[in-house]
């Protein structure tokens, strides 16, 4: 990824320690297994991937020098780079690729995220040391972009053998840094991998990382994290709470930089299969009757942008032109509700229809609400009230979520679905992904539309970026028109950097990259 705008030209210094603070940490460090996307941040310094995705969303060689895709889109043959070694000395070869991918899909890994990226993976065939052939059960064009993420990063087979216990605390890869230790609730410590010479093609610099050491501390409490930066206890922090951005920008010698995460934005998904939201007019009313844009603007001080599409602008396949499909228009909304027959009003001022109150049951997990999504929710609740909706929060906890989701026993769900490209749309709106009895499935809107399904299926069978973009655009238009999703905002990773830290770059995943970073000793 490219460096940030911070004082270009200043010549990088080698050595030194960078102290970085993050808002969250994974309970399990193994990106193949861990459910939390923050794992990517902590493991990227250690892990290289087969391919990389550049700023423009183009796939570039990395550990794989080149690759060929079979005509039926089901076989990918990778030619691997030579001379790559994991930090524990194990050479990187086709066997390693096989070991990694097999490890991802092995049920014993209990992969919560990575395996979802390669659903159709069948097996990897080791043609020779430098050639690995990946077989898919059905076409899956997003494979390459998936492979570019750290969740499918290449770990040392030796380490993989040591089992989940070990991997949960220690990751061994071929990356620019070597992980010294990871202590839960404290963070991770890395040191430079002196032999590193295989950055992704087009990286800002080659060779070993500039930092001698890298410290990533976990400081969950926003205020404390910010305080740590301002009081110089750390050199840079991630997950800067928007409320502090202004203050930090003003702060002497501090820089704030942010990057929108690709993939699905943070959206509300109405349950189109049951409850009041089965009526499209009610959905549209909800979408246009609430001024999401303003709410987001105010709440996030313009740091997170209100979004108009279920996928983020940064994502390959994002349709820029659908902005005006949903416009804030309370009158129209009211009219729609009247048409839909929600004409009555009860003493509390909520709309009713033959005696029943217009109540929306929201499957909201407060315990994991980040970025003040609970506050946001409160405000949407307040706005909806004006419109005549009663929004009730279901007391859903981490442990009850899956059940509720599977039963479809809700009217509204909310989450952000981060993937590297617009293929996120397939997870979100393909009828095949409607949550099943076992709770699997990310189509929380329970949206089922043959045309959309058709478009999405076709995306899997074409590598042509242009064509795929077109298909994705159609999908986005359709789901917005059907109000099968209420886009809220596109999460951005906000970075605040102090005096010492220089050239902290960006991953395509909108995480800071420390490969090029360096520190200026005072």
């Amino acid at each position: 990824g490219g460096g940030t705008a911070q004082d270009r030209g200043a010549t990088p210094v080698l050595g030194g320690t960078l102290r970085f603070a993050v808002h969250a940490e994974p309970s399990n460090l193994d990106p193949h297994a861990s459910p939390s996307d923050v794992t990517g941040l902590l493991t990227r310094p250690v892990l290289d991937s087969l391919v990389a995705m550049d700023g423009a969303g183009r796939i570039r060689p990395w550990l794989a020098e080149s690759w060929k895709v079979s005509a039926d889109h089901r076989t990918y043959t990778f030619t691997l780079r030579d001379g790559v070694r994991f930090s524990d000395g194990t050479p990187f070869d086709a066997a390693a690729v096989k070991a990694n991918l097999d490890h991802v899909v092995d049920p014993r890994t209990k992969s919560a995220l990575a395996a979802g990226l390669i659903p159709s993976y069948r097996e990897t065939e080791v043609v020779d040391a430098r050639t690995a052939r990946v077989e898919l059960s059905r076409p899956h064009s997003p494979l390459l972009s998936a492979l570019s993420t750290p969740y499918l990063g290449m770990q040392s087979p030796a380490a993989l053998k040591k089992g989940p216990e070990f991997l949960a605390r220690q990751i061994v890869g071929s990356g620019p840094f070597v992980m010294e230790s990871f202590v839960p609730r404290q963070g991770a410590v890395y040191h430079r991998n002196p032999n590193y010479a295989w950055p992704p093609q087009g990286a800002a610099h080659t060779g070993a990382a500039r930092l001698e050491r890298l410290q990533i501390r976990t400081i969950p409490e926003d205020s404390v994290r910010v305080g740590a930066l301002t009081s110089g206890q750390v050199d840079a922090i991630g997950g800067v709470p928007p409320v502090n951005v202004e203050q930090l920008r003003a702060g002497s010698g501090l820089k704030v930089d942010s990057r929108q995460a690709p993939g699905g934005t943070y959206n509300y998904y109405p349950n189109t299969a049951s409850g009041p939201f089965t009526d499209v007019r009610v959905r549209q009313a909800f979408g246009s009757g609430i001024d999401f844009a303003t709410i987001v603007e105010k709440l996030y001080f313009g740091v997170y942008e209100p979004s108009s599409s279920p996928v983020a602008p940064g994502t390959a396949g994002y349709a820029p032109d659908i902005g005006d499909l949903r416009r804030y228009d309370p009158q129209a909304a009211a009219a729609l509700l009247d048409q839909a027959g929600w004409t009555g009003r009860d003493p509390q001022g909520y709309r009713t229809k033959d005696g029943r109150r217009l109540t929306i049951r929201w499957m909201f997990v407060k315990s994991i609400a980040r970025e003040q999504r609970d506050v946001l929710a409160e405000q949407v609740q307040a706005a909806a009230r004006k419109l005549g909706f009663e929004v009730r929060f279901l007391d859903v906890t981490l442990s009850t979520y899956a059940g509720v989701a599977a039963r479809g026993d809700y009217d509204l769900a909310d989450f952000s679905w981060q993937r590297v490209d617009a293929d996120a749309l397939r997870d979100l709106f393909h009828s095949a992904n409607v949550p099943a009895a076992d709770g699997a499935g990310s189509n929380a809107a329970r949206y089922s539309d043959p045309q959309v399904d058709a478009w999405l299926d076709r995306t899997l069978r074409t590598e042509d970026p242009a064509e795929r973009a077109e298909l994705y655009a159609d999908v986005q238009r359709k789901v917005i028109q059907d109000a099968a999703v209420f886009p809220v905002y596109s999460p951005a990773y906000v970075l605040a950097v102090g005096e010492r830290a220089r050239d902290i770059g960006w991953e395509q995943q909108a995480y800071p990259s420390f490969y090029g970073a360096w520190v200026r000793e005072r």
Binding site: P35, K110, S231, Q233, T397, S399, T400, G403
Partner: protein, 311 residues
């Protein structure tokens, strides 16, 4: 140690075992009555394939009947194995061990601070003029009414964010420990000093104090040599309560100050329904509680000989 003391101690230990066992059982039942399956908790909001789900169930033996799970848990506990965390991918013992240190440090520092503060205030204000005592008890009143987390936030903001006197995140040495310890100590100190002064003042009116002074003993000497010990008695009796308070405070304070420790561990575990960890913490705390009490039982007669025969 007299026979009576020994007998009391034994019965005490016996009850303690019951208590601990009860603690385990209660929490075990409690957590298994929770709506939602454990595997759901382990999976959380992420989407996993049925195979993975099955794998989880099998690995943690969640398909076995509760009784069986309970039995094997008890068995392992007896062997000192508290099981394996669902969320944290490490043995509970390790998890707790890694968090115990910081928490203890915090608790001990806070406690020490509180005691020093309290003793000083009590000794200085006891039996003084109406004004002094009014002032002191007023301060104590406020001290005990202020919610601990609020104090924490205020201190943190003022002293480390605004003034930058203290680091925002602890961990590194005493400076990082001070603010949390203080916010923990203030309410406790307020209470203790109240209790101690009350004790002191009662003692200072006892005839034996008058006697001592009639012997020509100075005020300070009387306070230190006679009164203080009496004043400490009620403090000892409060120890059990203090212990509870400390653990409670720990959760809150550790959250406010983003400190690592048992509190955070507990919160995460409960939120994530990380059964083994929760039980581990329950067990540990119940155990410590018992130890504390037994220790007190032994301490009592040493401090107050009158209790050697009675009780």
């Amino acid at each position: 140690m007299t026979a009576t003391t020994r007998r009391r101690l034994l019965t005490r230990l016996a009850t303690s075992l019951v208590v601990i066992w009860g603690a385990i059982t209660v929490s075990f039942c409690a957590l298994h009555l929770t709506p939602g399956d454990v595997e759901d908790a382990i999976v959380g909001t992420s989407i996993v394939t049925p195979q993975v789900r099955a794998q989880i169930v099998a690995e943690y033996g969640l398909d076995r009947p509760l009784v069986a799970q309970y039995g094997s848990y008890l068995g392992r506990v007896l062997r000192g194995d508290l099981g394996h965390s669902y969320q944290r991918h490490e043995p509970v013992v390790t998890a707790i061990a890694s968090q115990l240190g910081p928490s203890l440090l915090l608790a001990v520092t806070g406690m020490g601070l509180a005691l020093i503060l309290a003793t000083a205030t009590a000794l200085l204000t006891a039996g003084r003029s109406r004004w002094v005592r009014g002032l002191a008890s007023g301060a104590e009143l406020v001290g005990t009414s202020v919610p601990m987390f609020w104090v924490g936030i205020l201190l943190l903001t003022v002293f480390s964010f605004q003034l930058g006197w203290f680091p925002a995140v602890g961990g590194d040495g005493l400076t990082g420990l001070l603010l949390p310890a203080v916010s923990m100590a203030l309410p406790v100190a307020a209470l203790l000093s109240q209790v101690m002064r009350e004790g002191l003042e009662r003692v200072l009116h006892e005839p034996f104090v008058l006697t001592a002074r009639a012997r020509g003993m100075g005020d300070t000497a009387v306070r230190l040599r006679h009164a203080l010990r009496h004043a400490l008695l009620p403090v000892v009796t409060l120890a059990g309560w203090l212990f509870g308070l400390m653990l409670g405070a720990m959760v809150v304070i550790e959250k406010v100050f983003s400190r690592e420790g048992l509190g955070g561990l507990m919160l995460d575990a409960v939120a994530g329904k990380d059964l083994p960890v929760v039980m581990g913490v329950v067990l540990i705390s119940a155990f410590v509680y018992v130890v504390v009490n037994v220790a007190l039982d032994l301490l009592y007669p040493l401090i107050d000989p009158r209790l050697q025969e009675e009780r």
